[in-house]
């Protein structure tokens, strides 16, 4: 393993798989949890789904710093907006603010984002805001390096009008498939479900995820298996 010092100082990037999916009554956002600097995994349990308001969350991919700063700015503006309006902001407004920042600073930013949430006027909505600052309102969308492996999967598996359970299972399955194939995605699967009752987080550790083709089951260490009363000390 030849890890040059340059790699460890590389900018933190979230290789990532992020997903946003609407269902009948709300949205489900899902993401993996790997943040890498070059080949080193800087954080294997990061939270890429960030809260913007009580009813709107954002999935971050690309440069960790860029996506964090964009989220922070939007959270700040949305907070002011909510106070002015006297009621929660709509998902559309949140997404619009995100894309204005992404678009107007496209030369400096490198982050793909998915905004998802629920408001009382439009219900559950998902907005994809890829690199460059386009805004697209979609029934579902995927992003990050791991998403390349999911386009075909969603073509086949996506259905209109799913229930909450179906949507959550779809998202978890998709993220775990991407983790299996994409080196820059890994760790645990986190989801956030947002509907009229609010937002709820779920967490799926790696060992609860199914094993896909050619994936190996986790191997116990021999130290755990050979549990004798007093193991012989090792002599070098």
């Amino acid at each position: 393993m030849d890890v040059s010092s340059g790699d460890l100082n590389a900018p933190h990037s979230m290789g990532t798989t992020i997903i946003g999916v609407t269902y009948d009554g709300g949205v489900v956002l899902g993401a993996d949890s790997r943040t890498s600097t070059g080949m080193y995994v800087a954080n294997r349990a990061s939270d890429k789904i960030t809260q913007l308001t009580d009813n709107v969350y954002i999935c971050r991919s690309g440069s960790a710093a860029d996506s964090q700063i964009v989220s922070d700015y939007v959270r700040y503006y949305l907070h002011q907006h909510t106070i002015q309006l006297g009621q929660p902001s709509t998902v559309k407004v949140a997404a619009n603010l995100v894309r204005l920042i992404s678009y107007n600073n496209k030369n400096m930013l490198q982050t793909g984002l998915i905004v998802g949430g629920w408001d009382k006027y439009e219900g559950g909505k998902i907005y994809g805001i890829p690199l460059g600052g386009t805004i697209l309102e979609l029934p579902f969308t995927i992003g990050g390096s791991g998403s390349s492996y999911l386009y075909g999967f969603f073509d086949q598996a996506w259905k209109e009008g799913m229930t909450q359970e179906e949507a959550e299972q779809l998202v978890v399955k998709a993220v775990s498939l991407a983790i299996a194939r994409d080196g820059a995605s890994g760790g645990v699967v986190r989801t956030v479900t947002i509907n009229k009752d609010g937002a709820s987080r779920k967490f799926y550790p790696g060992d609860t995820l199914p094993l896909w083709h050619e994936e190996l089951a986790p191997q116990d260490s021999l130290l755990d298996i050979l549990s004798s009363a007093s193991p012989e000390p090792m002599i070098c």
Binding site: L85, G86, K92, N96, L100, I101, Y103
Partner: protein
């Protein structure tokens, strides 16, 4: 109500000993002396009408609008000093547009960043009527705070239809803004308010509302004091596709199902007047 505030009424930055700011009250008198503006909120929209007193026979009918469209979904009726009213309307238009559409500029990001007195809006949705009313009120109030500015000599009725339904707000020269079912300002406001209170607004459609507003305006018009007047009306309702439309007698904005809502209203109002005189 009127009292002379000798000495305490010279500047808008002076309070009287009994806690009044006389300059603002005098500004309100300018509103009270103008033609009546009446507006009601019906169950499916807002109807507005203005008694436009004609100063000279040389004036072209349809000129000197008192009702202005502020945004697709809202309109403003002005009473008082017309020039002041134009300023308020311009400000409201600018607030409404900036809220929805991003102001293109090379320093795009910084525009979001610094908040000047004009909020550079970026929200991508039409401004909620409540928010618009608050911004207009805040602007009017601003002009009552500094000695180098005089208060606006006009009151404004703002009617709009957004995703929370039809709403009606009135902004006074003091900067107060309340939400109303029915509102009236100007000369005949007392009589107009009495008439509005008799109406069952929650059951009325805008079509019926137009007739009622016309009747009220014809009713409060004082034939003896002011000779000629022109009736100007507008509405924003389900029938108009939630767009603010005025005037109703322009051929391009013909309301389906009726030849001319405005003419219909005028005839009904005149008939009602005759009825009253006949008693």
């Amino acid at each position: 109500m009127s009292s002379i505030g000798t000495g305490y009424d010279l500047s808008v930055t002076t309070f009287s000993p009994d806690g009044r700011v006389f300059q603002i009250e005098y500004a309100a008198k300018a509103v009270d002396n103008s033609g009546t503006v009446v507006a009601i909120k019906c169950k499916d929209g807002v109807v507005m009408g203005v008694e436009k007193l004609i100063a000279s026979k040389m004036m072209l009918p349809g000129s000197n609008r008192r009702i202005h469209s502020v945004h697709r979904h809202s309109g403003m009726g002005v009473a008082g000093l017309a020039a002041d009213g134009r300023q308020i309307v311009a400000r409201a238009k600018s607030e409404a547009t900036n809220y929805e559409k991003f102001v293109f500029s090379l320093v795009g990001f910084l525009c979001l960043y610094f908040t000047s007195s004009v909020k550079l809006g970026v929200y991508g949705e039409p401004i909620p009527v409540k928010e618009l009313a608050e911004r207009v009120a805040s602007y009017v109030h601003l002009c009552t705070l500094y000695w180098w500015l005089r208060p606006f000599g006009c009151g404004v009725i703002l009617g709009g239809y957004d995703r929370d339904g039809p709403q009606l707000y009135m902004v006074e020269p003091s900067g107060i803004s309340y939400r109303y079912f029915g509102a009236a300002i100007g000369k005949g406001r007392q009589a107009a308010k009495t008439e509005i209170e008799k109406l069952k607004l929650s059951e009325m459609t805008c079509r019926q509302g137009v007739i009622e507003v016309a009747k009220i305006i014809y009713g409060v018009h004082d034939e003896a004091k002011d000779k000629a007047f022109e009736l100007e009306m507008s509405w924003v309702c389900d029938e108009s596709n939630r767009q603010h439309q005025k005037p109703l007698n322009v051929p391009t904005i013909r309301v389906p199902g009726s030849d001319d809502v405005l003419e219909e209203a005028k005839t009904a109002a005149k008939a009602a007047l005759e009825e009253m005189d006949a008693d």
